[in-house]
Symmetry: C2
């Protein structure tokens, strides 16, 4: 039977939502591996909306679930309705949305608050000993949510972000973009993706490895 | 030297813009093939904005170039500034945006009007004998723009759309999702993508073949 893998989205676009390439490549490799994909996102306002041509803030409001549905082609659940028992594993693509909408790490750093439904689902996954994959900056939100477990995580090699992860209780391990770091004890798999880049073919290598490892652990 | 391949986007999301999976897979296979990618989109208001969770129209306005920039991670040009002499080939991903914002085929069928900058660039590409790739519903806009050439195109097997393509002067050729149709005389390559689906792994096969063929012809 196909393994059910949740994909937790955070909007649609690198600067205010889920990084689109990372999210789509996650969906591609999951589908190629025969997994059943369950996309989800919190039903909450985005922190803000960024004009991606100029990286300036726009004066409008958008909803994380509604925008995430663009990546999921409409096939998406409200995170609040998803429980760990429905899933065999959970993967969180990166993009600023993972640190603006799933937590506010991008604003508050190590003092970030994790969205309560994100915290709940991550706690449920850990309690059920089910694997969690996190790409790019998403491991910072995982560190804030699960720092008490002292998980090993990578966001590549950015010194400031790595230090923040350690402040939150995680242990940061440097990793190249075509690699993954596996915390076998906690079943947490991470890859730097666009924290390192530089291009889509580069991030694809690490994401493909992450998806395979998460499915293997599930 | 790397071939320069233009990718003409039409927004960000299957129901009102470029189909995100098709666009990202196009970027992936171009990067893997060593091409230099030049993303572009018309600087024009979207026909409308669709809530992708419910497929209902939202009361807001969005700009095609600004939304397309999400897929391009900000690295995008205004279509009006791009000339065929800068490109070795052009690829147009699908999604309703290709038939709502690049032309209004989704509204007017065979009587569609092609956006003038799209028409100009397609005419320039043809005059320069440079290849054009089109995915999913995008061949309908190509048929409207270039029907006078009687190009061979595929959108899969949808009878109504195929008939509309023939009305506009094209010749429709049925094709499976993992295949491409090549009009060698006009250097036009098409694949059904999500006109057939059903999943991302399926559309990926045809898109990878299309990208390789377009680069080979360039």
């Amino acid at each position: 039977m196909a393994k059910k893998i949740g994909v937790l989205l955070a909007g649609c676009g690198v600067f205010d939502g889920s990084e689109i390439h990372e999210a789509v490549l996650t969906l591609l490799y999951l589908d190629q591996a025969g997994a059943e994909v369950i996309c989800m996102a919190p039903n909450v306002a985005q922190l803000h909306v960024i004009d991606h041509t100029q990286q300036t803030q726009m004066e409008e409001k958008r909803n994380v679930l509604v925008e995430s549905a663009r990546i999921a082609r409409g096939d998406i659940l409200d995170l609040a309705t998803v429980k760990a028992e429905q899933l065999d594993a959970l993967i969180i693509p990166g993009g600023f949305g993972a640190a603006k909408n799933l937590s506010d790490f991008a604003v508050k750093g190590p003092d970030a608050v994790v969205h309560p439904e994100v915290q709940r689902l991550l706690d449920e996954m850990v309690a059920a000993k089910k694997p969690i994959g996190a790409l790019c900056i998403a491991p910072a939100t995982v560190a804030r949510a699960l720092g008490g477990l002292h998980p090993e995580l990578t966001i590549g090699k950015d010194v400031g972000t790595a230090a923040a992860i350690e402040t939150m209780g995680g242990k940061h391990v440097a990793c190249p973009v075509d690699g993954i770091h596996v915390d076998a004890a906690h079943k947490i798999v991470t890859t730097p993706a666009y924290m390192l880049g530089p291009g889509i073919k580069d991030v694809a290598k690490g994401i493909e490895k992450l998806v395979k490892k998460v499915i293997e652990l599930a």
